[in-house]
Symmetry: C2
Subunit: 117 residues, 2 copies
DNA sequence: CCGTATCCCGGCGGATACTG
DNA sequence: CAGTATCCGCCGGGATACGG
């Protein structure tokens, strides 16, 4: 049910929430976070490759959403200081626990999109 | 992976999306939809009771979010024309398929909120 | 009891240009 | 290659009042 706790949870956007469902959806609620997590749940990816895999996203938004996911402890950022620079993004242990959920979500979404055929 | 299809899916907000994960998160992405679905996944509820169960929500927002969920085929609205009026909200068959996902999401959220204890 | 109708504001996200 | 910096428009959502 509502399942409200005594305390409040916090996340990078500093919005306080008591309901864990609200919380989770808020953390993954950015316009591009769904597809980002979807991709990262299958592989580690570099910045520009991520950009290439997500048609329509701007550099700015990709950076912002990745920074939030990082601040929320979902995504890991590994910098290799070569020239040119190389930055690899992957899921943290906590983020990996989201993978099965993302998978279910994709399955549901596919069914939903094909419901009138 | 990105899993983009040839066609596009549509939902009540008339935003076109190709990625089923984006689609699902968008459908459930309103500020209050998470907790609404969480509640409805356990019981059918009348309008005012729903309002009571969701502290902070306004009548306007509750109506709007319910209307969107209804338009997206997630929520069913049953009107009993008594005096005073009685309106009961519940999940559709399609909406019920979201319940296990909501449950996983709640579990993850709880873990997340207690991660520093 | 169950909603609409208005008004209004903050901030998410787009476009574009620049940098280590 | 992997980002910042700046500007700005739009609309999600809050507050409030009214209606069947």
């Amino acid at each position: 049910m509502g399942n409200r706790l005594n305390g409040f949870g916090a996340c990078s956007t500093e919005v306080k929430m008591a309901c864990p469902v609200e919380m989770t959806l808020h953390i993954n609620g950015g316009k591009w976070k769904g597809i980002i997590l979807d991709i990262l749940s299958h592989q580690s990816v570099r910045f520009n490759e991520l950009k290439r895999l997500i048609p329509g996203i701007t550099q700015r938004m990709l950076t912002l959403q990745l920074r939030e996911l990082e601040a929320d402890g979902i995504v890991k950022r590994k910098v290799e200081n070569t020239v040119p620079k190389k930055v690899e993004y992957s899921l943290t242990e906590h983020g990996k626990k989201l993978s099965p959920i993302i998978a279910s979500i994709r399955i549901w979404g596919n069914e939903y999109m094909n419901k009138n055929e």
